[in-house]
């Protein structure tokens, strides 16, 4: 009898505690999740939904048009060009970013003087704190045909001026160079931390076996760094597929649409031509592209993790 009472009181205490915990979760998580749903979940489905309408914020009548917008994309040379430009940007800028940041990170990590190492890291990280819009403006003036820094240097070497942002064959590369300046710092710092995290024993063991430097890199550094590399790659690819600010400020898609990337084209269609249904169709296409590419990267990355 006595024993039973203690048991029920213990049980009651636990259920009181359980109720308090539930209340805590409900009271705090509900409003947060409601706001999250309103601004992060609802817009995704709304956006996909809009892609099936001829929707404009200005007009009263916005008819359902089924797959017409998607068919329009396939016949729209400008959208196809924008998709092509986006891929061009990603395919050049991502490998350039990853390769240079990895090499620089390994170099800086190998510097023996602590002061020098920190100074170098600061120098490479410095550009990341400029607003990208500001960086794009600075670089625009450095690319100026007359009096811009780059053409001044070429002039000093007796080479004629180049239209860095005016030549359709060069403009995208100029934008990429600016992008690299603006954000290699992030990946360098992350790679440096990843390299630091590799235990020295691995190198010592390999060196005992008489391994050469190239072998160390291929068989020790890169495999042990693969987790960091996967993270950096996925994040860089996602962010580069959405590149907007640099082109909007520097070229606004010109010359001859050579730098018109998808996000810029979506922005223009939606907020300058108010063609929001069609813009949503392009956005949904971008969603599908980035989703598939991220999945593929994670699949490949995961199978490589098993070492």
């Amino acid at each position: 009898m006595h024993h039973g009472a203690a048991w029920t009181s213990e049980k009651r205490k636990r259920s009181v505690q359980k109720r308090r915990e539930t209340r805590f979760v409900v009271v705090w998580l509900t409003p947060i999740m409601v706001v999250f749903a309103l601004f992060s979940i609802l817009p995704v489905f709304w956006g996909i939904g809009l892609s099936f309408f001829n929707y404009s914020a200005l007009s009263v009548h916005n008819p359902f048009t089924g797959l017409a917008n998607y068919q329009r994309i396939l016949r729209d040379p400008l959208v196809l060009k924008a998709i092509g430009n986006t891929f061009q940007f990603v395919l050049i800028a991502v490998p350039a970013n990853l390769l240079s940041t990895l090499v620089i990170a390994m170099g800086v990590n190998a510097v023996r003087s602590r002061v020098l190492k920190n100074t170098l890291r600061t120098l490479f990280f410095l550009p990341t704190i400029a607003p990208v819009a500001g960086a794009a403006l600075i670089w625009s003036t450095m690319y100026n045909l007359n009096g811009g820094l780059f053409n001044e240097i070429l002039g000093f070497l007796s080479i004629g001026p180049i239209k860095w942002l005016g030549n359709p064959n060069i403009a995208m590369l100029s934008v990429i160079l600016t992008t690299l300046w603006a954000d290699v710092g992030y990946n360098i710092v992350i790679f440096m931390a990843g390299l630091d995290a590799i235990p020295d024993v691995f190198y010592e063991a390999a060196r005992m076996d008489g391994a050469r430097r190239w072998y160390l890199l291929r068989r020790v550094t890169l495999p042990l760094l693969s987790r960091t590399t996967l993270f950096v790659t996925v994040m860089t690819v996602i962010s580069y597929f959405q590149m907007f600010t640099q082109v909007q400020v520097m070229t606004n898609g010109d010359p001859q649409n050579a730098t018109r990337v998808l996000t810029l084209h979506i922005y223009t269609a939606a907020f300058q031509y108010m063609d929001m249904g069609y813009a949503s169709t392009m956005a949904t296409t971008l969603l599908v592209i980035t989703f598939v590419i991220s999945l593929v990267q994670l699949r490949i990355g995961r199978s490589r993790w098993e070492y």
């Binding site: 505690q17 308090r20 915990e21 805590f24 979760v25 705090w28 998580l29 947060i32 999250f36 601004f39 992060s40 817009p43 995704v44 809009l50 620089i104 170099g107 510097v111 100074t119 170098l120 600061t122 120098l123 490479f124 990280f125 410095l126 550009p127 400029a130 607003p131 990208v132 819009a133 500001g134 403006l137 600075i138 625009s140 003036t141 007359n146 009096g147 820094l149 992030y186 710092v189 440096m192 931390a193 990843g194 960091t228 950096v232 996602i238 959405q242 907007f244 600010t245 979506i266 922005y267 939606a270 813009a279 949503s280 392009m282 956005a283 949904t284 971008l286 969603l287 980035t290 989703f291």
Partner: protein
């Protein structure tokens, strides 16, 4: 062996230093340009160093434009976004890490999945929502959609998960309320993550360009990045004014960066490696 290596080593260090110093060139270019007159920048015979140094650009920014208004707009919106995001991330991270409830897995998966959605996908519906709320062209339209960060919640959960259960149970036995446990025990334990998350949330808000470009029109409501580009008008390119504004905006940011540099770098590695 050592001597042979040291030639290569010196070359590598020299190369890195040259490359590192090149990273500073655009900043120097900005400062030098801010001291030129617009005519000098646009002239065909301009030189790298200003021939006739002038503060006209700075004068223009400070007297002809609502410069401090813009700074204030950026400061107030970024601060509110950061403070609220820190709170919502920490408390949701705590709940996802230490409580069991229905739909937890689904909710958490949804959070993770939302991080992969490009902003271009949500910007149109978000604009329509903000328009329906009647806050287009108000500073609150910058703040309201950015109060919850899936990444922040994920980050906080990762770190809170590793806190020992006994720590929380001990406080419960002492009769502490759930919110008190969160505020007095959990938050102090994850301070490094909070400062990292704070820095990056603030930077992202301060530098955000696309969303303010969509919702803000009024000159007095612009944030700093919009204002910078605004000077670079379609008809009149006031390069020296743009560069002066750039200098005025970058200097405080650089000062803050040098003060918090350690936290910056540590924060980035924390967020990158978890």
């Amino acid at each position: 062996m050592r001597r042979r290596l040291s030639v290569g080593y010196a070359a590598m260090v020299a190369g890195l230093l040259i490359l590192g110093l090149m990273m500073v060139v655009p900043y120097l270019w900005m400062v030098l340009s801010s001291l030129k007159s617009n005519a000098e920048i646009l002239s065909a015979h301009s030189t790298i160093l200003p021939r006739h140094p002038t503060l006209a650009g700075f004068n223009m920014v400070l007297t002809q434009a609502p410069f401090f208004r813009w700074l204030w707009n950026s400061l107030i919106t970024s601060t509110i976004i950061t403070a609220v995001t820190l709170f919502t991330s920490a408390i949701s991270g705590y709940i996802f890490a230490k409580f069991e409830f229905r739909a937890k897995k689904v909710l958490f998966f949804t959070l993770l999945a939302s991080m992969m959605v490009p902003f271009a996908v949500v910007m149109i519906p978000t604009y329509l929502i903000v328009a329906r709320m009647g806050i287009v062209d108000h500073l609150s339209s910058i703040v309201v959609p950015s109060l919850i960060s899936a990444f922040g919640i994920f980050l906080c959960r990762q770190f809170i998960e590793s806190l020992p259960r006994d720590l929380l149970e001990a406080a419960r036995i002492d009769g502490a309320g759930e919110f008190r446990i969160f505020a007095a025990i959990v938050v102090p334990q994850i301070r490094p993550v909070m400062s990292a998350l704070g820095i990056f949330t603030f930077m992202a808000a301060w530098n955000n360009y696309l969303w303010p470009l969509i919702v803000l029109n009024d000159i007095d409501r612009m944030t700093v990045p919009l204002a910078l580009v605004f000077f670079n008008g379609r008809h009149l390119q006031n390069w020296n004014v743009v560069m002066s504004a750039g200098v005025l905006i970058m200097v405080p940011v650089l000062v803050v960066f040098f003060i918090f540099q350690k936290q910056f770098v540590k924060g980035l590695t924390l967020t990158g490696l978890k």
